[in-house]
């Protein structure tokens, strides 16, 4: 796959991912740390996590044709990499979670992960519907020549 084809896909995934992470951080903050005050540097957190989450998506790419199970297995690895990154960075920064917070955050990351893939899949669905419309036009054009040919012969 050419780089120019991959780049828009990367950007779309990054933007969707960043939006979802922003919402997630907002909801998690309101639920578990309502008294916490944060600085402007916090604004860099969603794009940071978004960028690396999308970058880790490279693990799902393969030159070979992957089966459904292989794709799902690689996606699971992708999710685990993201979870490790989030909890690892929090640990390095000295932020610790209770078991409840840990479970909720892990689940929320998984939900964001599924949502991002869901949005991308919906976009592919729209793309496929548009293609199918154009395909009918393309085929009808060719059939039109077919009919014209028959009329001329008769």
């Amino acid at each position: 796959m050419k780089r120019r084809d991959t780049l828009p896909e990367f950007v779309i995934t990054f933007l969707v991912c960043t939006a979802c992470i922003t919402i997630l951080e907002g909801v998690m903050g309101m639920l578990f740390f309502p008294e916490e005050k944060i600085g402007y540097d916090a604004f860099f957190s969603p794009p940071f996590f978004g960028f690396f989450s999308v970058l880790f998506g490279a693990v799902t790419n393969s030159k070979k044709e992957l089966g459904i199970r292989q794709v799902l297995f690689r996606r699971l690895i992708h999710l685990l990499m993201i979870e490790t990154m989030v909890f690892g960075l929090n640990y390095v920064c000295g932020i610790t979670f209770s078991l409840m917070e840990f479970c909720v955050l892990a689940l929320a990351i998984a939900i964001v992960f599924v949502t991002v893939y869901g949005v991308i899949w919906m976009n592919d669905l729209r793309s496929a519907a548009l293609f199918n419309e154009k395909l009918k036009v393309y085929q009808n054009q060719q059939l039109c020549y077919n009919d014209c040919g028959r009329k001329t012969n008769s």
Partner: protein, 152 residues
């Protein structure tokens, strides 16, 4: 555009001549259509019988174990061509590569639907489902949708 039919005596001298000022897309389409008609390919059936079949009846060509097979609605034929030769020779007949091992007929494609990992399924008119690889999906979109492929 004037259309004429001139009768001749010998079958082997039958031909279509397109006279035009400029080779437009319309002219290319007519050329492509004329090429498709009556194009016959020799192929081996399961019973090792050599038969001729119409190119326009082929849903797709598939490379398996160094051999290339043509799938029509009724029969599977082994042909003596490499897949890249099929792709080059029949591009004007609406055949296009959709994965490393498959070249499909766009005229017998019912539609596509998204699969996992950014790939697409190609649903053929005979009900068969083929996988479109990511690398080839863009090219197929360009052929069918022309300049509007970026919108998708």
């Amino acid at each position: 555009m004037k259309v004429k039919i001139r009768k001749i005596l010998k079958k082997e001298e039958e031909q279509v001549v397109i006279e035009c000022v400029e080779v437009t897309q319309e002219v290319k389409d007519i050329y492509s259509y004329a090429l498709t008609k009556e194009t016959k390919i020799p192929g081996l059936t399961d019973n090792q019988r050599m038969e001729q079949f119409c190119l326009e009846d082929v849903y797709y060509f598939e490379a398996l174990d160094e051999k290339v097979f043509a799938y029509t609605g009724k029969q599977v034929y082994e042909i003596k061509m490499r897949l890249y030769e099929v792709e080059a020779a029949y591009a004007l007949h609406h055949f296009i590569r959709c994965s490393k091992s498959v070249v499909l007929n766009l005229m017998l494609l019912e539609g596509i639907s998204p699969a996992l990992n950014g790939r697409f399924f190609a649903h053929m008119k005979n009900g068969e489902r083929l996988m479109i690889s990511r690398g080839y999906a863009q090219k197929i979109k360009q052929v069918v949708m022309g300049g509007s492929s970026d919108e998708a």
